[in-house]
Amino acid sequence: MAELTMRDALNQALHQEMERDPRVIVIGEDVSGGAGGTSGKRDAAGGIFGVTKGLLPRFGEARVIDTPISESAIVGLANGAALAGMRPVAELMFADFVGVSLDQIFNQMAKFRYMFGGKAQTPVVLRMAMGAGMNAAAQHSQTIYPMLSAIPGLKVAVPSTPADAKGMLAAAIRDDDPVIFFEHKALYSRKGDVPEGEYLVPFGEAALLRQGRDVTVVAIGRMVHFAAKAVDKLAAEGITCDLIDMRTTSPIDEEAILESLSQTGRLVVVDESNPICSIASEIASMAATKGFHDLRAPVQKITAPHTPVPFARELERIYVPSPNDIEAAIRAVMKEV
């Protein structure tokens, strides 16, 4: 174990997987940087968040590929290279840029295998930074995993800790299905213990971070940490919760959630996304369909409001669900029964 930031944990996974498998390549804007610059230095960027730093010096230009600003072509490049036997890790920089590349994601990589009679495989990993927390405003702060989790054929990873980030990125690269890999911008510098060497976190297995009797709290990405704050605070008062980190939103670990719900009878779901057709809605709907007989109180959905992400610090702060909001929701479901 070593204490690493999520940024460094991701970087380590990329180094290890590229070392292990020569078919793994990295593609994106400024994934190394410095090409065509006047300093003569390559790897001048290493990704705008530093996640791909050091890959170019180690693996060379044939495997670490800087591109023009052409996101459709970047994802298309990854799709085609994957169909032809490579294992590309493409980067979209900001998740919001699915806007200019969605076709290659939802009509192409997600559907090849199915449409082509099961004969294609498209082992692409598409990394993208998401989330509020940097005051990057409406076009650089969205958490669009609900949109992509809805699409059959895609797997979707949303790690919340450095260890999960490493283990899930390595697992994503080895996965023969396409994986959308969301990295929360506000978590890049967060530290945690990370196993050294090969480490894999399987998809579709939620993590039970706290155990309790009273309430099932389901959270995703950065919200896991906010939920943990609320849960820990209430534990001191004797209100104890199961805290479930979904880890992947496709597949969803239904069993883990329903099993917990069958013990607690109360559900709070926390999702940084906008409320409509969110993962919070999906989990709440699961409770209403498959978990109904266990449910003893109304489900509490804690999400961002139905607004774009605002710019100003004070606005963004009230836009993002807070530990206080989560605490209040837990108290509310406790009052009900």
């Binding site: 994957a82 076709d103 192409q108």
Partner: protein
């Protein structure tokens, strides 16, 4: 015409195969057994075949919504294709894809594609894999005049140049983008636009197999020598509507008839090779008969092929979930 008789026979057969496949679909389609959208390639046979006859086993192609010709030219099984078009469980894509999504990865055929302009970046990606393998393979995309206005196509061109990839862009100007003339949507012209990205263009007569073959040969030579992408621009026409059922109000009455009677690709190649004494009319007729029988048999078996069920609906969404 420096090709061997065997090469020419093969090319002629492929063109005839596409022609018969498509003309037969045009006959079968109104009967109501074929579902969905069917876009026929008849009229453009010389382009698909002229290009694909230049390719090696390790090369890749990607097609468009009008994919049958490219698939057949690349060697996809006509019977498997016919079963797919009829939605059969034993079709090339298990009946899940249909006419617009026929693919055969084992043949380096990366699929017909229902999204105009989607194939080009994907083919650039396959070219990246070709370059990495270093075995001289190339990747080919086919692009219609209409598709040439899609942003993804321009991005793909620039990307292929920036990364200096072994990528052939085949531009097929058949005069129409659905119900609109090609000249309307292209503000300048295809050759100038393509060259401006740094991609040399070899022009060809899209009705003439030999013309296309030679243009593609030159472009591929340039590409395989490691110079980066190149393009072939071929002009032809489509004999049928945009899709089966299109009343074609936008076309002059005798437009297709004139093309068929004058420059038709099959007519031209027959005249050329019999004129040059390479094959006799009877030899070509024998090929025609063989192809016709193959199409007959394919339609026959497709009509009664196995119907896909819930297992096929639900499988292959993921390899492992």
């Amino acid at each position: 015409m420096q090709q061997s008789p065997d090469q020419i026979r093969q090319a002629y057969r492929q063109m005839r195969l596409i022609r018969e496949f498509e003309e037969r679909l045009h006959v079968e389609n109104p009967k109501g057994e074929i579902a969905g959208f069917t876009h026929l390639y008849s009229g453009q046979e010389a382009i698909a075949v002229g290009v694909c006859e230049n390719l090696r086993e390790t090369d890749y192609i990607i097609s468009t919504h009008r994919g049958h010709g490219h698939c057949l030219a690349r060697g996809c099984d006509p019977k498997g294709m016919m079963h797919e078009i009829y939605g059969r469980a034993d079709g090339l894509c298990k009946g899940r894809g249909g006419s617009m999504h026929i693919a055969d990865l084992t043949k380096g055929m990366l699929g017909a594609n229902g999204i105009v302009g989607a194939g080009q970046p994907i083919a650039v990606g396959a070219a990246l894999a070709c370059k990495a393998r270093g075995d001289g393979s190339v990747s080919v995309s086919f692009t219609g005049d209409g598709a040439s206005n899609q942003g993804t196509v321009f991005e793909a061109m620039n990307m292929a140049v920036v990364l200096k990839l072994p990528k052939l862009f085949v531009l097929e100007n058949n005069g129409y983008s659905e119900h609109t003339g090609a000249s309307y949507g292209i503000g300048s012209d295809l050759k100038t636009r393509t060259e401006a990205f740094g991609i040399p263009v070899w022009e060809a007569d899209g009705f003439d197999y030999f013309s296309v073959y030679e243009a593609a040969a030159k472009a591929l030579e340039y590409i395989r020598a490691g110079n980066g992408p190149a393009a072939v621009l071929a002009v032809a026409t489509r004999y049928f509507g945009h899709f089966e059922g299109d009343p074609q109000n936008y076309r002059a009455k005798d437009e297709v008839k004139n093309f068929r009677e004058t420059v038709d690709a099959l007519k031209q190649i027959r005249e050329k090779v019999t004129g040059a004494g390479i094959f006799t009319v009877e030899e070509l007729d024998a090929i025609d008969a063989e192809v016709l029988a193959l199409i007959d048999a394919s339609v026959e078996s497709a009509r009664t092929g196995p119907v896909p069920g819930a297992d096929i609906l639900l499988s292959d969404v993921y390899i492992d979930y």
